[in-house]
């Protein structure tokens, strides 16, 4: 690519900022910096935030993206993730660092390869000179009439503790600013520049700002100038992402009918126990077995957010016909394996009608219901095989008694859904349950 004379659009004769505003100088520095790295305009994106700085992108012959206040880093990150080859530059003000500070934190943590240039003039210039997160202590603004009482944000310090790869604080008057900007743009990782400048409309006149007072602010607030971080130990985010090993995709099992349909009615079943009792996976096995037998099924799980404790419930409907409504107030079958499950589903169990069946662990409390209750020592039987396979023992007994599904269909479903390590144990648990009821 031949070297460009300027990255400003040919029709741009002047920039729109107030006389003496640092934005004008900064943009001319940026133009020089792009020349220094011989940036390809077609592979360069300027993303601007809101504020006077938001006017900047439109004067350059590069890709221009002007979004919402504080969110420029997120668009830039999305652009970089989508096309890591691009040189993505964010121009934002100190206002954007307040409303969008969270994105500085996280872009730095990720070390995503974008370059953030903060045009920091210590106040909101566009809306009338209100205080910002970088307004120094005592600073007079439209919203701090007696002087600012909030501590100014150390933008670079923040980026540093969050892991930024490259961080520098400069002033718009620094001769080396174009070369620092160039270095930041070529840095492979997250680079951020805090560039101090004058807001000649508001902050500077209100606070009698000159170059000396900038140095004073730097000293009193312990905000040093210079390249403060230039790390070589971090990998740029899109590179790190590419280096990560993708998880192998599991192919979904085909559940075409393989077994005879034994079911002649819709069964609404509630399966409930405690955390760790494989309620979810057993419910899935039941649904899959019904489908493998040419039927239909639905499964809805319910458990507290503290997943390792308390109840675990599943509502399963199996039917020879398509299922529309998946709600369940009075199921016609239940399998209850622990006290947590019993407490959770008691209202449903009590509501169950005559002709419906409840299989439950024999040690659980007695209660009034029209349903037929069959109590078995599921827990004791499971303990001999695998304590956690108690739901399969119960399911075996329930299906042996009701004959809704064939044992082969359930074994096939276990084969499809269980990991090889658990397969034998699961089949054993099912068998124990099945024999418990078929011998009875």
């Amino acid at each position: 690519m031949s070297e460009l004379q300027t990255y400003f659009k040919p029709e741009v004769k002047s920039l729109p900022f107030c006389p003496g505003c640092g934005h004008t100088t900064n943009l001319s520095h940026l133009d020089k910096a792009m020349k220094l790295i011989n940036a390809d305009p077609k592979r360069t994106v300027i993303v601007t935030d809101i504020g006077c700085v938001g006017l900047s992108d439109q004067y350059f012959d590069v890709h221009a993206f002007h979004g919402l206040h504080g969110r420029s880093i997120t668009y830039a990150t999305g652009i970089k993730l989508a096309n890591p080859e691009l040189n993505v530059i964010v121009l934002m003000g100190d206002g954007g660092c307040g409303i969008g500070g969270n994105h500085i934190v996280n872009a730095a943590r990720r070390n995503v390869g974008i370059t953030v240039m903060v045009f920091n003039n210590f106040n909101f210039g566009m809306t009338g000179g209100e205080h910002s997160v970088t307004t120094p202590f005592g600073g007079l603004t439209a919203t701090t009439h007696s002087g600012n009482i909030e501590a100014p944000l150390d933008i670079i310090g923040l980026a540093q503790v969050c892991g930024a790869g490259y961080a520098a604080r400069m002033t718009t008057f620094d001769k080396e600013l174009p070369s620092i900007m160039a270095e930041a743009m070529t840095y492979k990782g997250f680079a951020i520049l805090d560039i101090w400048e004058f807001c000649t409309a508001y902050y500077s006149p209100r606070n009698d700002m000159d170059k000396q007072s900038m140095i004073a602010i730097s000293e009193t607030h312990n905000l040093p100038f210079g390249i403060l971080t230039n790390r070589t130990d971090r990998t740029e985010y899109t590179v790190a992402l590419k280096n990560q090993e993708a998880k192998t995709l599991k192919s979904a099992p085909d559940l075409n009918q393989r077994f005879d349909q034994l079911l002649d009615q819709k069964i609404e079943l509630v399966l409930s126990g405690g955390a760790g009792q494989k309620i979810k996976s057993t419910a899935a096995i039941l649904g899959q077995a019904a489908i493998l037998s040419g039927g239909f099924a639905s499964q809805k799980d319910d458990y507290p957010i503290t997943v390792k404790t308390g109840y675990s419930s599943a509502e399963v409907i199996i039917s020879p016909e398509n299922i529309d409504y998946t709600g369940m107030t009075a199921p016609n079958a239940a399998l209850i394996l622990s006290i947590e499950g019993y407490n959770k589903e008691k209202s449903k169990l009590v509501a169950m009608k005559a002709g419906s069946v409840i299989f439950m662990e024999e040690s659980l409390p007695e209660f009034e219901t029209e349903a037929t209750v069959i109590r078995k020592p599921f827990e004791a039987i499971a303990k001999k095989i695998d304590r956690n396979s108690v739901a399969l023992v119960g399911l075996g007994a329930l299906l042996a008694k009701t004959k809704w599904l064939s044992r082969e269909s359930v074994e096939s479903a276990i084969g499809i859904s269980q990991k090889a390590a658990y397969l034998e144990m699961s089949l054993k648990a099912l068998k124990a349950g099945w024999e418990l009821e078929s011998q009875a």
Binding site: L68, G78, G327
Partner: protein, 373 residues
């Protein structure tokens, strides 16, 4: 192939079928499984999925990636959608193709995170400052999640706009038997990038609604200009009242409601009683109609909620003396029907917000009431 999957899984399969190659999202019940699934599926295909620091960043990533040429998807629930709001305005103004899934849950604020409801219907319609039309599709089954994901990507591409999929907890997280191969899917609209410049300049957008032009890609060979401010067709900021009017007229009218109207109807051509449903409640209606014998009753299931599919609604509303609209909210869509129905007809709005599914019995009761009149 017969599968035992839930709506969230089917939606992921549909999105991948549509060519989705970018995802960003933030964990939230009951939409998290979509995030988890995309974080596995996309990297395995050499594409990018990322968990953002919050919902604001997540949709921001999607907007940036979409304008760089990706078919982007994000998924959330009500509280996350609240945080998407400002960027949805940007996506409308900047004409960003983007698919946003809202797996709805009950209530404002945290509400009942694991309970079903359809309470974001009007929210997605009016989600941005300034207004402007949105496209919102509402699946009522696992199959719909797959199918509507493909339609959503197509509409997003065609109209260059965010498209909502209003799923819900019950649809998203209840596994059902499905055979997605049996569904008739639309042809996929592929992303085309603007490559021809005219007079050295390429239009960022066209304000001519009859000719949608390819997107000028960020980082492509033609320099792109994207802005959330009022702009001309080249993406230049404008203060000209004429140009601002042209832009806003374009945004307000660019979606052709007829072209995005998806629905299913069963019943007589001229129903005396019309049940209008959408989302999970459609299945309660199906169940109610299956278990009784009713004459003169039609059931219209809307799969497109916004823009309101007025032509099909007017067709069936014209003969209906009674309209029943069951909703798992406080009647959010009933008002849309109120303004379209014959003024001498009766509208029965069935509403339920109690964390339980709206039972078929409530439809049956309403139908009994009608036959007694």
């Amino acid at each position: 192939m017969i599968q035992f999957i839930d709506g969230n899984e089917a939606l992921v399969q549909g999105a991948l079928k549509a060519g989705c190659n970018f995802f960003a999202g933030y964990p939230i019940t009951p939409a998290t499984p979509i995030l988890l699934s995309m974080m596995t599926e996309l990297p395995a295909r050499g594409e990018t999925a990322i968990q953002g620091e919050d919902e604001i960043a997540s949709i921001g990533f999607c907007i940036g990636a979409a304008m760089t040429g990706k078919k982007a998807l994000t998924a959330t629930s009500g509280p996350g959608l609240s945080l998407y709001s400002e960027n949805i305005g940007l996506a409308i103004m900047g004409e960003v193709p983007l698919v946003i899934v809202d797996v709805q849950r009950l209530g404002p604020a945290t509400g009942s995170a694991t309970k079903d409801a359809s309470m974001d219907i009007q929210f997605v319609r009016w989600i941005t400052s300034g207004g402007y039309p949105a496209i919102a599709l509402a699946p009522s089954s696992v199959e719909d999640c797959y199918l509507l994901a493909i339609h959503a990507f197509n509409y997003a591409e065609k109209y260059r706009t965010p498209v909502f999929i209003l799923s819900s907890k019950e649809i998203g997280q209840t596994r059902m038997r499905v055979d997605l191969d049996l569904l008739t899917t639309p042809a996929i609209i592929k992303r085309e990038s603007a490559s021809q410049s005219q007079n050295g300049k390429v239009k960022s957008v066209s304000f001519n609604n009859s000719s949608f032009q390819p997107i000028c890609t960020v980082g492509g060979d033609e320099l792109s200009r994207f802005t959330g401010s009022s702009h001309d067709e080249y993406g230049n900021l404008t203060k000209s009242p004429g140009m601002i009017e042209k832009l806003n007229e374009h945004l307000n009218t660019k979606i052709n409601p007829e072209e995005v109207a998806l629905w299913e109807y069963s019943g007589p051509d001229l129903p005396e009683t019309l049940i209008i449903s959408y989302g999970i409640v459609s299945r309660s209606v199906n169940q109610a109609l299956k278990t009784g014998s009713y004459s003169g009753v039609g059931h219209l299931i809307l799969k497109t909620l916004w823009p309101v599919p007025e032509t099909i609604l007017l067709k069936y509303l014209s003969s209906a003396d009674t309209i029943i609209i069951p909703e798992m909210n406080n009647g959010q869509y009933a008002l849309e029907i109120e303004r379209l129905k014959r003024h001498d007809s009766t509208l029965i709005s069935i509403q339920q917000v109690n964390s339980e599914l709206l039972a078929p019995e409530r439809i049956t009761e309403a139908l009994k009431e009608v036959s007694h009149v």
